[in-house]
Symmetry: D2
């Protein structure tokens, strides 16, 4: 695979802070979005790069799934994504939690960015992720690796009930069976340990054999 690790957060353009808004405790209860000048949570590219060298960055990740009428997972949604370097890679929904944003709001925002506004994700009532994935810039410390930063990611399985129309740099959502999603073939197309994350997601819903 590619030498460069994937960008786990290409949708998270911080310069859209003012456009999509993120006041303190924002999200669904949001009041009008503040201007950049008023929002200390907005970070310039330089500032974000600096923060990434100094602090663990909080992420959320989601493995989108389809379920049958009984709640059993039948399919897993995998994103086809173009990295900033133009490589094509398989990934899942992933992005940074902003200052003042709840984990739940960040999860919803990144689901919408990556799956489109008609995906109708069903966020779980529980605040607890199926795993906590720790990405380090130096490979080998954990199963996860991100050469840009030390990121700690809360990873969730999220049933999706609508139609997925990826926006931004997620090119396509491919729905596959749990077996395919756990296969070595798919693993070879995922980077940074995302294949491990998908397998752990499947295990958490009893769909890993």
């Amino acid at each position: 695979m590619a030498v460069r690790t994937p960008d786990p957060d290409p949708a998270d353009r911080d310069d859209d802070g003012a456009r999509r808004g993120n006041p303190l405790g924002a999200g669904s209860f949001s009041s009008p979005a503040p201007r950049n000048a008023a929002n200390p949570g907005w970070l310039s590219d330089v500032e974000l790069a600096e923060a990434r060298r100094r602090l663990p960055i909080l992420y959320v990740e989601a493995v989108p799934v389809r379920t049958d009428g009984m709640g059993q997972v039948t399919q897993v949604g995998v994103l086809l994504r173009a990295t900033p370097l133009g490589e094509i890679t398989r990934s899942i929904v992933s992005g940074r939690v902003r200052y003042g944003e709840t984990v739940r709001d960040a999860l919803f925002r990144h689901l919408e960015n990556d799956l489109g506004p008609m995906a109708f994700p069903l966020l779980p009532p529980q605040p607890v992720p199926f795993t906590v994935a720790e990405y380090f810039p130096m490979p080998g410390l954990t199963a996860f690796h991100d050469d840009r930063q030390h990121a700690v990611s809360l990873a969730f399985v999220v049933p999706v009930t609508g139609t997925c129309e990826p926006r931004q740099d997620a090119l396509e959502v491919t729905w596959m069976s749990p077996e395919e999603a756990a296969s070595d073939t798919l693993a070879a197309e995922m980077e940074g340990g995302r294949s491990t994350l998908v397998r752990q997601a499947l295990a958490s819903v009893g769909a890993l054999r």
Copy 2:
């Protein structure tokens, strides 16, 4: 409160085995329901009573909830129920898992029995309950008590999206805030430790203060 413990499973009339059907591995994958004669999982009242004196009986329980668009729990559904002795008590969805029935199918069956066919419950993708409640005939061993049997219950939080029209002996579903559901006032109206179960359910979704 009443001296007799509640019947945690009044809806679970085993003589309806043939009517509602429960072949091996039934539920959503069900083939036509067998007759009693052909279904070893059907138990007469005498046989069930005997089993209850000899084996731990597997139960499922569900705390129905309403969630907002972000998955956060906003309301808890509590059943008003008449016990076989004619007492009125507060309870949650509860019932036995039958021979050959999956936990998921049992959960769905009891939700439908207690909340009606239009409740549209969203069963969780995860097979893991928020707690395992152990009911003993002798009070005080655990927080849970059932003078009829030793029951081990897998308890789930289940978001409900439709309209609840209780059937059988569940008289009514009352929707209340998490605060009310966790209150001592409500606890005094619940038996067998169900108030503990509701509080643990609330804690599992981050809604217990």
Copy 3:
């Protein structure tokens, strides 16, 4: 592999009910063990066989692990077991919960039976298993299969700090790396879906790649 499914519970000789004792709510708080005559939870072979045809039977299972000083799983213990038919198979700790016995006490009893009295298992404070495994007599309904019965198993990861000296029909405990424990090679030596259970156990502790 063998055509017959493994006996998931060979240590659970119910005729030892009086010897090892199992009064109501017994275990560590146990008063003197009752005689068979006085203990309705004691089942003859015929009675147990009958129950297994009529009710789901509650089981506990444990994947024994070694952890480093930071709690991270470093090794997985797999049992070498002789089935009643004399076949050698790989398995994990497994057994029935008896009438009047807590899940915790059953877990401890089976750990001691299978790993010996010097294993010093550290039972988790949480009552929630990493998965609920549903074994059906008919294969293919779930990942799990047991031709003797419909068993529902609460499965736990249990760190073991002492020395394992298997008793009864568990011949040996083999300690292996998480990678070996998740391998297809080991899976081929396990029956009834136990390899799936081991992989789900590893996923739950972040040790599945």
Copy 4:
């Protein structure tokens, strides 16, 4: 109670970065600690204050418990702590995760800081917290509040087997029953929502009534 929210992290003096060391992926696998100059994860007071206004800060928290031989929680450890303003408050183990540090290492470091080197905590094999607590500077958004920052905390129940001798500003560890730990009396002595966290911890181990 006091008008000022508690300092959830008084032990986390960042100027001790060089002393206690925190190289990338440090902890148990640590190479010699780098000097401040070489460690971008070291933050001056000014830099940390700035980061706290711009990014959610990742925390770990631990509710120390004593368990019986069967893993059941019997006691909860609550810290008596002096805030920077000299107020006495009740709290739990809490602190920041540093750049390059695993969650597990951060948990261990803060347990050692607050309970002393002879506490012998048993870190759980699972990476998943019992809850994710979100602290916002503005009160009321969640159950948790910290006027210094937006902190996201992974909260764990940690059995402690040794002797606790608090260091730094944790004055004392008080062991109390689950009932006392969940009481309104104790809640009145805790700040920032820590009483909610303790109740959720108790619920997760089946010890909340």
